[in-house]
């Protein structure tokens, strides 16, 4: 989970593909009920071709019905019945981790791990105070994924500086950093010594809408 446009779906998709590559069964679940424009539902068919299971309506199925089409696919409620790994992509919204109430058995599951994706370039998490208050309002957070980026204008320096701020806040709050994220386009930049492990991701979301 995370703030609006923090990179949740992107991280979720890449993590799913990473696990799939390890030979695991993976299900992605679209839990975005506030703003479904840049969500899994737009890429459902493409992701299924890569062998992932995706519990979401397609855009065509949720045809601007009623307006935004901020609907929940019933299969999402029973996501934990799926075999293998389950990745829940939780949309933004005023309720934060409470959204997990919508998935039967999620909160009680000992295997649940809530990862908050944070991008320092997002104004609402753009300084230490804001990050701190944002995380506090989220509810349960088990680990943080540091995802400072600026879309096509991302640079290593930007990521390092932004993520550093996130690390400081995480330490203050006693929340571990799971990993940091970088666009794979920045892979051969020469940087090798990362204190916190880096996962390189392929960006899928820019093709989501137009």
């Amino acid at each position: 989970m995370g703030e609006y446009a923090s990179g949740k779906s992107e991280v979720a998709i890449n993590r799913a593909l990473e696990l799939k590559k390890q030979g695991r069964e993976v299900t992605l679940v679209d839990l975005d009920t506030v703003e479904p424009f840049y969500t899994l539902r737009t890429l459902k068919n493409e992701l299924e071709k890569k062998g992932l299971k995706v519990l979401a309506f397609t855009r065509a199925q949720s045809f601007g019905l009623g307006e935004t089409g901020a609907m929940l696919n019933p299969a999402a409620r029973w996501a934990l019945k799926q075999e293998g790994d389950i990745i829940l992509d939780v949309g933004y919204g005023v309720f934060g981790a409470q959204t997990l109430n919508l998935v039967e058995g999620a909160n009680e599951s000992p295997e649940l791990k809530v990862m908050a994706v944070i991008n320092y370039s997002r104004p609402m998490t753009g300084n230490r105070e804001r990050i701190k208050s944002y995380i506090k309002n989220l509810g349960r957070v088990d680990a943080i994924v540091a995802n400072t980026h600026m879309g096509d204008e991302s640079t290593i320096d930007l990521t390092k500086t932004g993520n550093q701020e996130i690390f400081i806040v995480a330490a203050e709050l006693g929340i571990p950093i799971a990993y940091q994220v970088l666009d794979e386009k920045l892979k051969d930049s020469g940087e090798k010594n990362w204190e916190i492990p880096v996962k390189y991701i392929k960006r899928f979301m820019p093709t989501a809408i137009w």
Binding site: Y4, A5, E35, F37, Y38, G64, E67, T68, G69, N119, S121, R122, P123, M124, G126, H149, M150, G151, D152, E153, I209, W210
Partner: protein
């Protein structure tokens, strides 16, 4: 005015949020709105920021009310705004008409979606006619059509200034794609860029004792005689025409030797820009013209661009069925350049749509 940002900050943001932050930076004091896709995040973010910055907000019962509450707020001298889309834009034509008639400094953001009626919740450029000439008036409005998030930010700030300086209702015309896409932009305090925010002033609720310090203000939007209305409309028209040269904004590239000029606005102009580069690389003499103000339309500048070579053809590309086309034709009446169309109502246009069209007509 207290600063919102310590220094210019580069941020990764969606178009709707850019409106909220820019309105904050511009000193907007209150927002009225009603939920409609795709502009809801303007409200979602304004309501989250409002308490922190002491700003006001009301979700009204509908768009009619949202428009009229903004009219009231600006009459009282407060910087107010609203945002809407599609059917909401249709409803707001009534309050926008009052703002035209009474010269109210109203600023509104329109995020176009498919039309007519509920259409789609996604995208189009089908509210051009509505936003430029909606209501039962003469279209004495100022309309900025943005193409990037930086422009959304810049023109929101400028929009407030334009509204308060010239007192014609002012609009930022965006669309659902711009509203939702994520892009980097630089957010700044206007004063850090040397932008002075035009002071607000009330039209009602003025200072001073009535009868001693001042007269009571009597505002109206109806006249008894046809001749009275005639005088008013002509007066507004003359004023509008007089300020047109300083308001008009446009972008022009490669028109000096262009055989075909591609005319587009808003987000489609990004595709046109790419298309022109690719066509030129392939040896086709294409030019690019983009009105930024749809009202007032840069007709003088477009005529000059057409007549430079002169261009043989003008290709008008829009995600609508002829709204930009009609607007352009009325503005450049008399020009004999052949006009071609790429109409894709409600659908995004990419560079290759334009390139293929150009090749088919050259």
């Amino acid at each position: 005015m207290p600063k919102i940002f310590e220094a210019g900050k580069k941020a990764f943001i969606t178009g709707n949020e850019a409106v909220a932050w820019a309105a904050l930076a511009a000193g907007a004091e209150i927002m009225f709105g009603y939920p409609i896709t795709p502009q809801n995040e303007v409200m979602h973010y304004w309501t989250r920021l409002a308490p922190e910055y002491g700003k006001g907000f009301l979700q009204t019962e509908d768009e009619l009310s949202a428009g009229f509450t903004v009219c009231g707020a600006v009459q009282s001298g407060k910087k107010a705004f609203t945002a809407t889309a599609g059917p909401g834009n249709v409803l707001m034509q009534e309050p926008f008409g009052m703002a035209e008639a009474m010269r109210l400094p109203l600023f509104a953001v329109i995020q176009q979606r498919g039309g007519p009626s509920s259409g789609t919740v996604v995208y189009s450029q089908q509210e051009v006619t509505l936003t430029t000439y909606g209501g039962n008036g003469e279209g004495h409005r100022i309309v900025y059509s943005t193409a990037t998030h930086q422009e959304i930010y810049d023109y929101t700030i400028k929009g407030f200034n334009t509204a308060w300086k010239y007192r014609f209702p002012t609009f930022l015309l965006g669309d659902g794609y711009q509203a939702k896409m994520r892009e980097p932009l630089e957010m700044y305090n206007p004063e850090d860029r040397g932008i002075e925010m035009v002071k607000t002033y009330p039209l009602v609720g003025l200072q001073g004792k009535i009868g001693e310090d001042r007269e009571p203000q009597h505002l109206c939007n109806i006249y008894s005689l046809e001749e009275e209305l005639y005088e008013v409309v002509l007066k507004f028209a003359a004023e509008y025409e007089a300020i047109t040269p300083e308001l008009v904004e446009y972008e022009e590239k490669e028109c000096e030797d262009a055989e075909i000029i591609i005319l587009s606005h808003g987000v489609v102009s990004r595709a046109a820009d790419d298309a022109v580069k690719i066509l030129r690389a392939q040896g086709i003499k294409a030019g690019y013209f983009r009105p930024i103000t749809l009202r007032p339309f840069p007709q003088k500048q477009l005529r000059e661009a057409i007549n430079r070579k002169p261009a043989r053809k003008l290709l008008i590309a829009e995600s609508a069925y002829g709204q930009l086309d009609r607007l352009t034709k009325q503005e450049i009446y008399g020009e004999t350049v052949a006009i071609e169309n790429l109409f894709m109502p409600g659908v995004g246009i990419i560079d290759y749509d334009i390139i293929n069209k150009v090749k088919s007509i050259m």
